[in-house]
Amino acid sequence: MELIKPGVNIDFIGRRKIGYIISIVLIAAAILTLIVNKGPNFGIDFAGGTIVQVRFDGAVELDAVRAGIAEAGLEGVSLQTFGAEDQNEFLIRTQAVLDTGDAFARDLTAELAAATGAEAEIRRVEMVGPQVGETLREGALFALFYALLFITIYISGRFEMKWMVSGITAGILIGGVVFLSRLQVSIPLLILAAILITLVLFWQLRLRFAMGASVALIHDVTITVGIFTMLGKEFSLPIIAALLTIIGYSLNDTIIVFDRIRENIRRYSTRLLEKNINNSINETLNRTVLTSSTTLLVLLALLFLGGDIIHDFALTLIIGVIIGTYSSIFVASPMLLLLQGTMPLEEEGEGLEDEPVESGTEAAAR
């Protein structure tokens, strides 16, 4: 069976402008959402606060639950139902860091049972103090940054044989970020700056594969974060894990296409770059679609059957996989052209003659 017939030749590169427009609109929408929303919605992992998940052994009135909570002395809390309707399960949440010591669970279950007339069971308590939230927030940002950085080093090393250059670049960037973060510089700004510097450096050093890959990654993460925020979802630790996985996954897709582009450039060195890139996308299209489908298949199973705790995690991955697949076709590969276009034609020819040397080193490495 074949989803996509062999020899298919869709003119992706010719229509790359459409892709650019879609991407720019999506990114703009994502950034706008984040601005309007004043940043992403941080869950208690990052903002600090308390969540208590309670289940009753019979149907209860929402108001009675509220009364019980008030009776237990918890103030400024929001109450929402959790999971399926017939589960009688609720989520009590507050931005405040409740003192969960000293008979907290005992008192709360007793008051809830007294107010509702049904036995209450505390199934989950999560309390994160503000200082922990801050640590976790910084850790998450650093993790995203380092993942991006290491992956781009790997790409520029593997695809352009510039291990030294990219290694030194990365070393300086890491050193700078670590040094400045000691000086109490705002970390989100710092990392934003580091990413911009990385992109400018890649541009200057003409590391086109690394450039294409990192633009695609930033594209994927920004849009996923934007959509996630648009849906009113909260960021928690597992969501960061999902974002990192998207970075890995989206790159996976990109690399498969890049690999083919490199192979085709070497084999058909006289062909126009546009043609080589477009052929490569088409040749790997079947794989791209197939792998994304199987991944989406299992993620959908997780989304619908995995339970409420894992629900948002699966949702993030689904958004990310779709965006990541799109970006490896419409963003990462055309980016190669964008950089190529800045070089004069003669230089471009020279660049192509370099390729056999490159494959020689690679053969030795193999």
Partner: protein, 521 residues
């Protein structure tokens, strides 16, 4: 052929240990290998992060130093008045006679290497000297406090009886406690978080309690409140600040039942030195009251009837049997060197853990079957081979979890599910290549050969990036998220192995060595 047998050996060398590691999880009695560890989110339990208030340890060191220094100043006849202020990290003395400054300096240098002089100001012919702990000392005290707190908490938990607790220092001053399977979380938190500072102090009956309550607390005394909350609030006591005896002199603590009132109390035994001090103090203070103070609450203040030898004392206070037992535990384990704050708590009840396991496994099953079906429809016979690899993949992840004693968490299960989706990728890349080679008119054998050869590097490249993301995640992540990083990395490694080694071997055995002319792919 030599190459071929090498690969078969490798497959055997991987699969047999994998089976050996996995089996005990499903049949624990099989052999004494470890089962797969379940994270707190799956088996239920409590995770706590405690912040050790190390500055309090510094303060109490300061307090001890202050009384030492005062004693020495008296002994050396340096006339001075202590200037009291709110700054608990500094000491200040006013020297009545400026000529004493050199003597003061020498005294500090000789006996108090932990102190340094911050400033010497002259004011109206008198000199005010400010002192603080040296940075090294302060750092040592803080480090020591965290280490001691860890040790104390570990002792308490050991006595509390939790299977496989995990207690470790995290960063400079945090302690992380993981208690799997704990259901009475309130009690566990009380046990862990209680400072349990036991002190014996004499009650100050010379001064009026009422006047002290009005704000005239006499020098050297303080107001403490009782442990029991009556109708009029807690009962106040005026006690001497000086601690006569503390929990540090304790040898043992156990629960006894009062025969008369049938009420439990905690009987404490002092060690030899403690017993000696106790005997001396009680002898000197007959008819006075002695307050038994625990964490700044007066539990009782009995009148000393006579000299008490033998070195035992009892703490009463309307305890339930369990409260008394817990108090005995914390007293035996010793006081925390500084109070701790719970700054993070994550508790999962056992029923929620069960639900998570059930839902996780169910979605894994459904997702797996969907993918297996898809692969067979799409690649027919070759799809079957890919499916074999997929099943093997899950076996290898499970074996990896058991072998490395990694922890399986809910996101970890999600990681396995995700891996099922991603794992077929390697096979898809290979099969698509083989199809391409076949379309170019190659024979089956050479198409398989070329397909694998060309796909190998691509697969490596593609998987390294996911591996990088997983390693970063492992570095930064905590608990459940770490579990995800572990299963994701294991999944990536396993899928490379099954696709590049196992699948290749099976395809070569089925198609190449039997010289098949057609291939179902």
């Amino acid at each position: 052929m030599k190459w071929l047998s090498w690969r078969i050996l490798l497959i055997i060398a991987v699969i047999i240990p994998a089976v050996v590691y996995v089996l005990p999880t499903f049949k624990p009695t099989m052999w004494p290998y470890n089962q797969i560890n379940l994270g707190l989110d799956l088996q239920g339990g409590m995770h706590l992060s405690l912040d050790v208030q190390t500055e309090k340890a510094v303060e109490s060191t300061m307090e001890r130093t202050r009384s030492d220094l005062r004693g020495r100043l008296r002994a050396e006849r340096i006339r001075s008045v202590e200037v009291s202020d709110d700054n608990t990290h500094e000491l200040a003395f006013r020297l009545i006679n400026p000529d004493d400054l050199t003597g003061f300096r020498n005294l500090v240098e000789r006996n108090h290497s932990e102190l340094r002089i911050l400033s010497e100001d002259e004011q109206n012919g008198e000199i005010i000297v400010r002192l603080g702990l040296t940075d090294d000392t302060a750092r040592d005290v803080q480090r020591q406090a965290v280490r001691q707190a860890l040790e104390t908490i570990r002792n308490r938990i050991d006595e509390f009886g939790v299977a496989e607790p995990d207690i470790r220092v995290e960063g400079d001053r945090r302690i992380q406690v993981q208690l799997p399977g704990v259901t009475d979380t309130d009690r566990a938190k009380e046990l862990i978080g209680r400072t349990a500072m036991l002190e014996f102090k004499l009650v100050d009956d010379e001064h009026s309690l009422q006047r002290a309550l009005d704000g005239n607390v006499p020098e050297g005394s303080e107001i403490l409140y009782g442990s029991a909350e009556g109708e009029e609030g807690r009962q106040p006591f005026l006690v001497r600040e000086r601690t006569i005896l503390s929990g540090a002199y304790l040898d043992n603590a156990r629960v006894q039942i009062d025969q008369q009132y049938n009420e439990p109390y905690v009987l404490i035994d002092f060690n030899r030195e403690g017993a000696r001090i106790f005997e001396q103090v009680t002898a000197e203070n007959v008819r006075n009251r002695l307050a038994i103070v625990l964490d700044d609450r007066v539990y009782s203040a009995p009148v000393i009837q006579e000299r008490i030898a033998g070195g035992t004392a009892r703490i009463t206070g309307n305890f339930s049997t369990q409260e008394a037992r817990d108090l005995a535990i914390v007293l035996r384990a010793g006081a925390l060197p500084a109070p701790v704050d719970i700054i993070e708590e994550r508790t999962v009840g056992p029923s929620l853990g069960q639900d998570s396991i059930r839902q996780g496994l169910f979605s894994m099953l459904v997702g797996g079957i969907l993918v297996l079906t898809f692969m067979v429809i799409y690649y027919r016979a070759a799809g079957m081979i890919a499916n074999l690899a997929l099943v093997l993949n899950i076996l290898l992840i499970a074996a990896g979890l058991a072998a490395f004693q990694a922890t399986l968490t809910l996101p970890g299960i999600a990681g396995i599910i995700l891996t099922i989706g991603i794992a077929v990728d390697a096979n898809v890349i290979i099969f698509e290549r083989v199809r391409e080679e076949l379309r170019l008119g190659r024979k089956v054998a050479s198409a398989i050969e070329a397909g694998f050869n060309r796909a190998t590097l691509t697969i490596m490249d593609a998987n390294v990036t996911t591996l990088i993301a997983a390693v970063v995640l492992f570095q930064f992540g905590t608990g459940p998220v770490r579990g995800f990083a572990v299963t994701l990395s294991l999944g990536v490694l396993a899928s490379m192995f099954t696709a590049l080694v196992v699948c290749r071997q099976v395809m070569e055995t089925v198609y190449v060595s039997r010289r098949m002319k057609t291939i179902s792919i």
